[in-house]
Amino acid sequence: MSQGIAFYAIFFAAIFTNNILLTNYLGMCSFLAVSREVSTSVGLGSAVIFVMTATSVLNWLAYRYILVPLDMIYLRYIVFIVIIAAFVQLVEMIIERVSEKLYSSLGIFLPLITVNCAILGVSLFMVIRNYTFVSSLFYGLGSGIGWAIAIVTMAGIRQKMVRSRVPRGLAGAGITLIIAGIMALAFMGFSGMINIT
């Protein structure tokens, strides 16, 4: 079924029409928690892009060449999550080496990438939709970019919003969700251009 869709179509669809955050609600936890400052969210966004692309490729290989031949598809959750966890550990070590400042600002959120639903979600969608190797690569990359765009935009809006008056019960999570809803509405404007299901 994926043979009919070109990989660039999948790439753009993953960013805009089927944004992993705004249409599939994946990766909400870190989206709500880390979207207070643009600089931090850019850091997390780039980490997610990297991890998502790499893990979707690794998971595709593991699925196609280990799990399917051995007829152990039901173990895919465990295998995927272990690969993702190992990979996040690697990213953590790299960031620690490269930028002390980024490392301290991301703090505890980096290990949380492991339990970021979006990362596992991309791998599961890719398996369910029977993507080819190239398609998976671009699907992972596109989803990561889409997620990063969403969180950076949100952080920008929230930074501006610090000064505005928000009803008390709505402050914090409530208003963030409403903004996310409006963003989802805006992204729905892209739907119809390309559609993958």
């Binding site: 705004l22 249409t23 599939n24 609600y25 994946l26 990766g27 909400m28 936890c29 709500l32 039901y74 173990l75 895919r76 959750y77 465990i78 999550i81 272990v82 966890a85 290990p111 949380l112 492991t114 339990v115 970021n116 639903c117 979006a118 990362i119 596992l120 979600g121 599961l124 969608f125 369910i128 009803p167 008390r168 019960g169 709505l170 914090g172 999570a173 409530g174 208003i175 969700l177 409403i178 996310a180 809803g181 409006i182 989802a184 509405l185 729905m188």
Partner: protein
């Protein structure tokens, strides 16, 4: 003493410390299935099963887990229970299993389960941990079921698949699409926070 503790854990997880309102945790995987009530309830049942039992297991093993790799161990425990749920759903409810698609597997990454394992199960006995896990799952479920109720009612004019609103009702198709869930959850959080603030005398926490 024991009974008192259980009661406190229960009311804490259902009320003031509800994972969805107080901590806004774990809405990721389950929010996606709240457009139809039937799917939501199946998903929530699976979630309660997993939170309860994984809390229980983590608590049982807590003395033997090296703290460096405990996250990994916890994830593996959770993943095993999710596989059980997945297989059961495939066997007995194949239609719903197909509709839920990847979201059943995504229970693994639901932050609530990990959060309860880290915050509660690591420092409490197995029995109490099981109750805490189940109560957290329950507290989370009733919020999502309420959201699903309104989304299905407003979005497709039906409850549990039966049309109730009749022909005069124009479906708010926005409700069954993505933005509806965000708005609905925000409104719920608003209402509940308002009520909680009144109870505590308008004090800021």
């Amino acid at each position: 003493m024991e009974a008192f503790k259980i009661k406190r854990v229960f009311s804490d997880d259902l009320g003031a410390n509800n994972p969805v309102f107080a901590q806004v945790l774990g809405i990721c995987s389950t929010l996606a299935v709240t457009n139809v009530m039937k799917n939501t309830i199946v998903m929530c049942a699976g979630l309660i099963f997993v939170t309860g039992l994984s809390n229980f297991t983590v608590s049982l093993l807590r003395a033997y887990m090296p703290s460096r790799i405990r996250m990994m161990v916890e994830t593996l425990i959770i993943a095993s229970y999710v596989i059980i749920v997945d297989i059961i759903l495939k066997a007995y409810l194949p239609d719903i299993s197909r509709q839920l698609g990847p979201y059943v597997g995504l229970i693994i990454t639901n932050c609530i389960i990990m959060g309860r394992a880290e915050a509660f199960a690591l420092s409490n006995p197995p029995g109490l941990s099981f109750i805490d896990g189940a109560a957290s799952g329950l507290g989370y479920s009733y919020v999502l079921i309420a959201i699903a109720f309104f989304r299905e009612l407003l979005g497709s004019g039906s409850i549990w698949g039966y049309p109730v609103l009749g022909d005069w009702w124009t479906n708010w198709s926005i409700m069954v699409m993505a933005p509806g869930a965000f708005f609905m959850l925000a409104i719920f959080i608003w209402i509940v926070k308002g009520v909680l603030e009144k109870e505590t005398g308008g004090e800021k926490k």
